[in-house]
């Protein structure tokens, strides 16, 4: 094995996720120091055409596994390809996004190879040739630094945390076809269909702006004002546990220790007091704004900016003010 890094570039429906570029950028950052190659791996159906562009984001080489059986994510098939390609390409480290796909794929790869995973990492560094990953545990109340005594060390990266590499226009990487055999007809788990969520909006973990509401929203109908603000900011609406448990918002929108842990550029907490479980889920946001009637609410202790006041007046005013900025 060797210094190379295999970077799993996640795509869905023939489009790369933003996290694919983040993963390649993080891999390149390390191989620049160790002298290894960054090898991107693309798995899917009808994906050969999009693979070359990964060169512009820092991939030295791109491997493509393109097959009808790979159209939907299959843990069995995908893990086999990842493991085999890591072996063939002498990669001691495998990076992938900590997405729903990566969080299922990484442990399978580790079980096949007998190695270790650092899941949902927020930093990866090379220290004298050993790769060290930093990951939040206890929903971010604590950070842990780990390394692996076995290879390949599999590290999944939290979306939105690692910088997007700058695109070097016109720089294409060599694209190779994967020769790992794909026996799609003997699968133990078959994806029958993919159902889009009712809102059809971007997932919280991928959003760069989140406008969240809590108990202070008073009812499901009032979330409309958060939708309006989120729309002008190009973001999505989240909710605290109490708003989800009250049935005001779907569970997929919950932010917190028993919901999603998010890292957007901007997190606006409206009518959320800031229970420790909620803070754990959003405190790694780049910028936090809190709007709450109660000046003593714990949310103000983690917020970068706070407005003390009635969210039913402040939020619509904020929407109007942001509109002015966006249109100017």
């Amino acid at each position: 094995m060797g210094n190379n890094i295999l970077a799993f570039a996640e795509q869905r429906e023939g489009k790369f996720k933003k996290s694919a570029y983040e993963v390649i950028g993080a891999a390149k950052n390390i191989t620049n120091q160790t002298g290894g190659e960054t090898i991107a791996l693309v798995i899917g159906s009808g994906v050969e055409g999009i693979a070359g562009e990964l060169g512009a984001y820092g991939a030295d080489k791109v491997i493509v596994a393109d097959n009808d059986s790979l159209k939907y994510y299959s843990g069995e098939l995908y893990s086999n390809i990842v493991v085999e390609e890591a072996k063939k390409n002498e990669a001691d480290v495998i990076l992938m996004p900590a997405s729903s796909m990566g969080r299922d794929l990484a442990p399978r790869c580790a079980a096949i190879t007998g190695s270790a995973v650092a899941a949902d990492s927020i930093a990866v560094e090379n220290s004298d040739g050993s790769i060290i990953a930093t990951r939040p545990v206890y929903a971010g109340k604590t950070l842990i630094k780990v390394k692996s005594s076995k290879t390949p060390f599999i590290i999944s990266l939290r979306p939105n945390v690692f910088p997007l590499p700058e695109k070097e226009e016109g720089k294409n990487a060599e694209v190779q076809k994967s020769e790992v055999s794909v026996a799609g007809d003997s699968l133990k788990a078959i994806v029958k269909e993919i159902v889009a969520s009712a809102s059809g909006k971007m997932d919280l973990t991928e959003a760069s702006v989140i406008v969240s509401g809590g108990r202070g929203m008073k009812g499901p109908e009032n979330f409309k004002i958060l939708e309006e603000l989120a729309d002008v900011l190009g973001g999505v609406v989240g909710a605290s546990r109490s708003a989800v448990d009250a049935g005001w918002m779907p569970q997929a929108q919950q932010v917190g220790q028993t919901g999603k842990v998010v890292s957007p550029q901007l997190y606006i907490a409206c009518g959320i007091s800031g229970a420790i479980q909620h803070l754990a889920g959003m405190s790694s946001s780049k910028c936090i704004v809190a709007i709450n009637k109660d000046p003593e609410a714990p949310i103000f202790q983690v917020a970068d900016y706070g407005i003390v006041g009635d969210l039913f007046e402040v939020v619509p005013a904020l929407t109007e003010e942001v509109k002015k900025v966006v249109s100017s």
Binding site: S79, A110, Q301, G306, A317
Partner: protein, 249 residues
Amino acid sequence: MNIVVCMKRVPDTATKIRINSDGTGIDESGIEYVINPYDEYAIEAGLQLKEKFGGEVVILTLDSSEAAPVVRNALAMGADRAVILKCDKKPVDSLSTATALAEGLKALNPDVILMGKQGVDYDNSQVGPMVGQLLGIPCVSVITKLEVSDGKAVANRQIEGGEEVVEVELPAIFTAQKGLNEPRYASLKGIMAAKKKKLDEQEAQIPEGAIEVIKMEIPPAREGGKIVGEGADAVPELVKLLQFEAKVL
């Protein structure tokens, strides 16, 4: 139907975490332990399957004897019996955990294995898919819906922006996400009955893991907030700050 629910006890989510003296784990003194919240959905799903198909629900956990009171809470919800795979210290490495659980599972010959999608302590969300891989059976992770019939199951797995509908043959593993069901509370009758239920302890077979903890630390606290002002009047100033100071607009 043989249903096994893998359970973990974790610090209550309201717990403030402190680091232990050697800096590689948490200080466990004074911590109150609960059933991992996601495992409660798994237990409920197991109980519902038993109500429909008969059989028994067995709780399996990898822990020290100190886990017994928390395991009894799962029995009080309605599980039939429990097995503690005994170890002095829970492994940090999820593959070690998964290997020990897989060994314990083999002896129980389950048709359906359920567990939470992740433990809210180490937040790895790895054990389910690992056990599936080790036992050579399908695993559907992060499910919000489960229908079992005729040796098959269809589960909805949460993904970004929607759900995958996945069909598997049993035996299979499912890891539960919030939304799968509404876990029941233990009734007083259930709590009394749980005291008499069988709780076995067996020595766990834990292989050495590959993960080495270098250090655990508390992340730096965020600087206390700047109150921009009160009410809607403060909005123009806030937008200016977001634009020019935080540069997020």
